[in-house]
Amino acid sequence: MKMLDTIPIRPAPSPAANAPALLREIAAALDALLLSGRRHCIDLGSLPLSTADRDLLREALGTGEIRMELVALGSSRIEETGVPGVWWVRHSSEDGILLTESLEICHVPEIVPADTTDIANGLQRLRQALALRESGGH
C-alpha cells in the first residue's frame, strides 16, 4: 500500500457550478409541494457534484430538526434539512457503501411511514407473541 500511495492520482478538477441550479430546482419543487402537494426527488448520484457543490448545498440547506436512521438492507440516514420539507436521504449497503443519495421534497419521505401490510404482519406477530405469553403464563 505504501508503494501505491506514492502514485499520485490527480482527478480532473470539476467545475463547482451545479449547486446553484440545484437550489433553484429545490425552490421550485417546494413551490409545487405547497400548491399541489406534489412530491419531488433529486438523485444526487446522477449529478456531477464537486466538493464545492456539496459544501454550498449543505450551507444553503442547513440542518433541520429530524434525523432518522433506517436499518434495512444496511443503514440509511434520513435527515430533514434546515428547509422544512427538504430531506437529505442516504441509502447505504450492509457494508456501509453508499448506494444512493437523494434530496426528497415532500412532507415525509415515502420510506418513513409504516406500510399497511407490514403493520398487519407486525400486528400478527405481536398477537402471536401475546398468545404465547398468555399460554406460557398459565
Partner: protein, 367 residues
C-alpha cells in the same frame, strides 16, 4: 395470485421499506429519474415473480464469479433470492439427473414466460460436440430453451459477441447467442466479465419496464451509451497531450493518459469509468492499465492490447512489404520510362525521315 417480488422480500423477513430502498438504489444505478423508482416499486410489487433460467456454455464462469463474489452481495443476493433463479449449474445444490429434472420442471412451469440468461459462447463445430451436457449439445440445448423464453439476456462477451472462444482461429466454431437464436429478443450484457451491477440492473429494468433501449450491438444504452474514454477521469490529460509512454515512466506515475500504451477506451462502450468495480473502488485505468476493450466484439483480435489504437492492426512485416512496394514501383517506373524512350526513338526516327518542315511553296492561312 402469483407471488410477487415484494412478497419474496417479505418472505426473507424484509419490510416494504427495504423494498423501497432496493428500488431507489436500483433506479439510481440505472440512472433512471428518481420518479422511476416509485414506478419500479409499484411494478415490482404487483408483477409475478419471474422465473430465471441461467445456462452456461463455453465460458469460464468469470461472469458468475463477478456477480456472486462481489464484496457487497446485497442487491445481487437479493436479486437471485427474490427473483426465482430456477436453474444454474454452478450455484444450485442439486447435481446430475436431479438437476436436469429440476430444470425441466422449472421450464415447463414457466414455459413462454421465463427469462433466459446465457453465459458463454456456443460451439457449432463438429456438430456441437465441443460442449455437451447430459447428452445434449449446447446449441440444441440453447435452441430448445430459447423457445420457451420471453427474453434472452446474453451475459458476458462470450455470449454477446463470441468472446474468447470466438477469437481466431476459433477451433470450436464458437458463435454468440445472437447467431443461434434469431426469433427472440436478446439483450447483450457484454464485458469480460460485465460489471455486476450492470447485470443486476438490466434484469431489474427488464422486469420493471420491459426491453431497454439498445445500441446497435444489442447492449442497453443505459450502461453502454458512452465510451470509457469520454467518461475517463484521465481524459483531461489526453486533451493536454500528456501521456504515459511506458508503464513505469514519469507519465505513468503522474497518472497521465494511457492511450499510447494501447488503451482502447476511445472505442469501448461500457460503464467502468462511472460505476467502477468492487463497489466503486477502481477500474482498470485507475489502477494504471489501459482498457482492453473487453466489452467490444473481437477484442482479442484487434492487433494487441498494448498496441495503440491508431496503430495498424495487422502484424505484417512493414519493411519487407513497403520495400517490396518500392521495388515494384521502381520496376514499373523503369518499364514505363523504357517504353517512353523507345517511343521517343521511333518518333525521332520517323521525324528524321521527313527531313525539314514543309516547303515554302505550300503555305496557307486560315481565317
Amino acid at each position: 395470485m402469483d407471488e410477487t417480488i415484494l412478497d419474496a422480500f417479505r418472505q426473507n423477513g424484509l419490510s416494504r421499506r427495504a423494498f423501497l430502498k432496493f428500488c431507489a438504489a436500483t433506479a439510481s444505478l440505472l440512472a433512471l429519474p428518481p420518479a422511476a423508482a416509485a414506478a419500479m416499486a409499484e411494478k415490482l410489487a404487483s408483477t409475478p415473480r419471474p422465473t430465471v433460467i441461467y445456462l452456461s456454455y463455453q465460458e469460464c464462469t468469470g461472469c458468475l464469479e463477478s456477480m456472486t463474489r462481489s464484496f457487497s452481495p446485497t442487491i445481487e443476493h437479493l436479486m437471485f433470492n427474490s427473483i426465482s433463479l430456477a436453474f444454474n449449474d454452478t450455484l444450485q445444490a442439486a447435481a446430475g439427473e436431479a438437476a436436469e429434472a429440476a430444470r425441466k420442471e422449472a421450464m415447463r412451469k414457466a414455459w413462454g414466460k421465463y427469462i433466459l440468461i446465457v453465459d458463454g459462447a456456443v460451439p457449432m463445430g463438429a456438430g456441437g460436440a465441443y460442449c455437451v451436457a447430459a447428452g445434449q449439445s449446447a446449441v440444441d440445448d440453447l435452441r430448445h430453451a430459447a423457445q420457451g423464453a420471453a427474453a434472452i439476456i446474453a451475459v458476458g462477451t462470450c455470449a454477446a459477441f463470441g468472446g474468447v472462444p470466438y477469437a481466431a482461429p476459433n477451433p470450436t466454431g464458437a458463435v454468440p447467442v445472437s447467431e443461434v437464436i434469431r426469433d427472440r429478443p436478446i439483450i447483450n450484457v457484454s464485458g469480460c466479465p460485465p460489471i455486476p451491477e450492470v447485470m443486476t440492473g438490466v434484469v431489474v429494468y427488464y422486469l420493471s419496464f420491459g426491453m431497454p433501449a439498445l445500441d446497435r450491438q444489442g447492449r442497453p444504452l443505459t450502461f453502454y451509451g458512452n465510451t470509457i474514454h469520454d467518461r475517463c477521469y484521465r481524459r483531461p490529460f489526453y486533451d493536454e497531450g500528456r501521456f504515459a509512454h511506458t508503464f513505469d515512466d514519469e507519465g505513468a506515475r503522474n497518472g497521465w493518459c494511457l492511450y499510447e500504451l494501447g488503451c482502447k477506451g476511445p472505442v469501448t462502450y461500457n460503464a467502468c469509468a462511472t460505476l467502477k468495480w468492487n463497489q466503486g473502488t477502481s477500474f482498470p485505468i485507475q489502477s494504471g492499465h489501459g482498457c482492453l476493450g473487453c466489452s467490444e466484439p473481437d477484442f482479442w483480435d484487434k492487433g494487441g492490447f498494448y498496441r495503440p489504437l491508431p496503430a495498424a492492426t495487422g502484424h505484417w512485416p512493414r519493411g519487407e512489404v513497403l520495400g517490396g512496394a518500392a521495388l515494384g514501383g521502381t520496376v514499373v517506373g523503369v518499364g514505363a520510362a523504357a517504353l517512353a524512350r523507345s517511343r521517343q526513338q521511333a518518333a525521332a526516327a520517323k521525324s528524321a525521315k521527313e527531313v525539314s518542315s514543309p516547303s515554302p511553296k505550300e503555305d496557307s492561312h486560315e481565317h
